[in-house]
């Protein structure tokens, strides 16, 4: 049987060899930690501490504001220094709680769960919600919401997104190598809530060691299996992954649950395990510092709130002249103009490059070659959509299914004329959706 995959996609240089074999290191933060109140999709959290309060590691500092929201916990012990707007990765200023660490890391006592199998579905969801878990692959959708579909009996697949198709990132890879038991444990907890579902670990075939490890672990788990996926970007895109595993296609108006699926990232499942079994909130995450402008690329277990600059310093600083800094991977990450931003629940990597390929190429005329069409995993015509976007033709944009764009960037990557196709298409998508909301 051929490897599971989807139609379209690209094969960019993956750069994973820089950091793939670096075991996860603990990194203790110094100085101040910054907790933006909005590091998830949904309503920003409400602070429950005031300036001057002392907090412990694992103490709640902001509570969820409604169902689609998530609480935030301090990852260090120390004093609340300020609650003020701070810069985050996407460039905005977001209200944030600033905590001065006392360096002692005094921690809250967590309540462990003796026997998870006795927990009811509601109890599990409650624990996940209380732990502040959100999709850690980047989207940041509150996990308890995702795990509360309208018709839970119709969920047939819980898919662990172990593809890690984004170039350079190795945090999921290190988790699968170093703590696969926790990943499988997280899956076991989720499957307990969905009696009709199977657990599938979707791993790209460029990680044969992970596939072997997971296969060994699920050998005696009748409800779990490992799916080997073709190495291709964006294999880890939610719709593409669901299609690869189940051959069910969903569009922008559908949820994975409509196809009987729930997709969770590797690290999200590990955090579910930590929350339900050990009662620990989400306060740390695995983070990759990499790129050819970094002296020693590394993978870290880092406190949420840590400044990116500290991570860079721990990795030996810059090597050569750094032209571009990216939070996340090169395909969907955010370029930073300033490195002083905090690690949030959804930050996956700091990528520093000595070359800015985007500014090196000049945009030329579209020659209608159709490479963007071949690359588009959503089977769109990106060059036309970009034209409509540039001319502001929202009706044509919708007619050519522009709203289905998943913003993976494959079209811009392949374009021989170096047109910023994805940028135009994404911008128009935001405008069209905003106009729809207004109506």
């Amino acid at each position: 049987m051929g490897l599971m995959t989807f139609k379209g996609g690209i094969h960019p240089y993956d750069g994973k060899e820089l950091s793939k074999d670096k075991a996860i290191r603990e990194l203790l933060p110094k100085g101040e930690l910054v907790y933006p109140l909005s590091q998830h999709i949904g309503a920003p959290a409400n602070p429950v501490v005031a300036v001057g309060d002392t907090v412990l590691r694992g103490q709640k500092i902001a509570e969820a504001n409604g169902f689609v929201s998530a609480p935030i916990y301090s990852a260090v012990s120390g004093t609340v220094k300020a609650i003020e707007p701070r810069r985050v990765a996407v460039g905005d200023m977001v209200n944030a709680i600033v905590i001065e660490s006392d360096g002692e890391m005094k921690e809250v006592d967590y309540v462990e769960c003796e026997d998870v199998t006795t927990l009811s579905k509601e109890e599990i969801i409650g624990k996940i919600k209380e732990a502040g878990i959100v999709g850690m692959g980047g989207a940041g959708f509150p996990t308890h919401v995702k795990l509360s579909p309208k018709e839970p009996e119709k969920i047939e697949y819980i898919i662990a997104n172990c593809a890690e198709c984004e170039p350079y990132l190795t945090s999921d890879y290190r988790i699968m190598m170093e703590m696969p038991e926790k990943l499988v444990g997280g899956m076991r907890v989720v499957l307990q809530m969905f009696p009709n579902a199977r657990g599938v670990f979707g791993v790209e075939d460029n990680k044969p060691d992970c596939i072997a490890k997971l296969k060994e672990l699920v050998k005696d788990e009748p409800r779990m299996e490992v799916a080997e996926l073709m190495t291709k970007y964006p294999q880890g895109g939610e719709r593409q992954l669901i299609y690869a595993v189940t051959k069910r296609a969903i569009n922008s108006k559908m949820l994975p649950a409509d196809a009987g699926c729930i997709v969770d990232n590797v690290e999200t499942l590990v955090e579910i395990y930590n929350a339900v079994v050990f009662g620990r909130p989400l306060i740390n995450r695995i983070f990759t510092v990499t790129g050819n402008a970094v002296a020693e690329p590394q993978n870290y277990n880092v406190c949420v709130g840590t400044n990116y600059a500290e991570l860079l310093e721990a990795s030996g600083g810059f090597k050569g002249e750094c032209k571009k800094i990216i939070s996340g991977g090169p395909m969907m990450g955010f370029a930073l103009f300033d490195i002083n931003i905090p690690v949030t629940k959804t930050s996956s990597a700091l990528l520093c490059m000595t070359k800015d390929e985007v500014s090196e190429y000049e945009t030329t005329a579209c020659i209608n070659c159709g490479r963007c069409v071949e690359a588009c995993p959503e089977l769109l015509i990106p060059s036309r959509l970009a034209d409509f976007a540039e001319r502001g033709q929202s009706d044509m944009y919708e007619k050519w299914h522009g709203l289905e764009c998943v913003e993976c960037g494959s079209c811009s990557y392949v374009c021989p004329a170096k047109r910023p196709l994805a940028q135009s298409v994404k911008t128009m998508k935001k405008q069209v959706l905003a106009a729809k909301r207004k109506k």
Partner: protein, 313 residues
């Protein structure tokens, strides 16, 4: 905030492919045909090729100078146009007519419509048709050295027998680049292997044409006749190098198939019932004009979008 780094919207990496690299590969793929043309027709063919290319590149440069645009001759597309035009000319054509053809291709067909990517008609073929109408006698004069003048297609039309082996190799009368099916196929393989083209357009074009002539050709299913029709005239060169021109063919996957069918039917129609033995150039430029309509009816359904009316399986 003394250090500000470059920012841009994602993605932050780009493939190495560029438009000029693509054009370069097309030129490479045309080399077997070009070299065979020179070997077959002699130094005259070489001169025509060089003159036509020079005329195209110079026209583009001068036009852009006049309208104060940045020069785009480095993208090599004018070289491709010049080379393709030359390959579509008889080796006997007066030099000044070839120069005029080059100017027409670039200035009228390409630049007037906005330059690279904006022309709706293949510039080389637009110019060829212009020359065919303006200088009908010169454009159909194939008398050179060993060849008495009748192209295989014209000979077949008159009921004469043709040697299909000669046609495959290319030892026949014709335009500089159309005679050798083998040389063209070598180029086509280069284009396919380097991912420049796929078989959607040339495949459906040739298949439709074969079906058309089997039904309407009056020879039934006769391998000799089919091979001769396929290798004769500009069909091979047109199918692989000109119908596949990115700018003037549909971008939608199904549109490419529909475009190929249009080409096959029109070529068959022109060859069987037209006044001329040849029909490829006209079929392609006519189909070029249909591209906007073809695209309109072949907008692909996006991933996960179910056909109306089939919503619930």
């Amino acid at each position: 905030m003394s250090d500000l780094y470059n920012v841009s919207s994602s993605p932050h990496v780009r493939s190495k492919d560029t438009s000029s690299r693509i054009m370069g590969l097309v030129i490479l793929a045309l080399l077997p045909t070009t070299l065979f043309g020179i070997y077959n027709f002699g130094i005259r063919a070489l001169i025509l090729i060089l003159v036509t290319i020079a005329s195209c590149v110079a026209s583009e440069w001068v036009f852009e100078k006049i309208v104060h645009k940045k020069s785009t001759i480095n993208d090599l597309s004018a070289v491709v146009t010049g080379l393709l035009l030359a390959l579509n000319l008889p080796p006997t054509l007066p030099i000044w007519e070839a120069v005029l053809g080059g100017i027409f291709a670039i200035v009228i067909v390409k630049m007037m419509f906005g330059g690279l990517g904006q022309n709706f008609m293949n510039p080389a073929l637009g110019a060829r048709c212009f020359l065919l109408i303006a200088f009908a006698a010169d454009m159909t004069n194939y008398v050179i050295d060993d060849y008495t003048g009748a192209t295989p297609l014209a000979a077949m039309r008159n009921g004469e027998a043709v040697n299909t082996m000669d046609m495959l190799i290319g030892k026949t009368a014709g335009t500089i680049g159309e005679t050798s099916a083998i040389a063209i196929l070598i180029g086509a393989i280069i284009l396919i292997l380097t991912g420049i083209i796929d078989l959607r357009i040339p495949g459906t074009y040739i298949l439709t044409f074969v079906i058309f002539i089997v039904i309407f050709g009056g020879h039934g299913f006769d391998w000799n006749y089919i091979t001769a029709q396929l290798c004769g005239g500009g069909l091979m060169l047109g199918a692989f190098f000109m119908a596949t021109d990115y700018v003037t063919s549909p971008i939608t996957p199904n549109g490419k198939i529909l475009f190929g069918i249009c080409l096959g039917v029109l070529t068959g129609l022109f060859r069987m019932y037209g006044a001329n033995a040849e029909g490829v150039s006209f079929a392609i430029i006519l189909s070029n004009c249909l591209v906007p309509m073809i695209e309109k009816i072949t907008i692909p359904r996006a991933f996960g979008i179910v056909k109306e009316g089939k919503k619930h399986e």
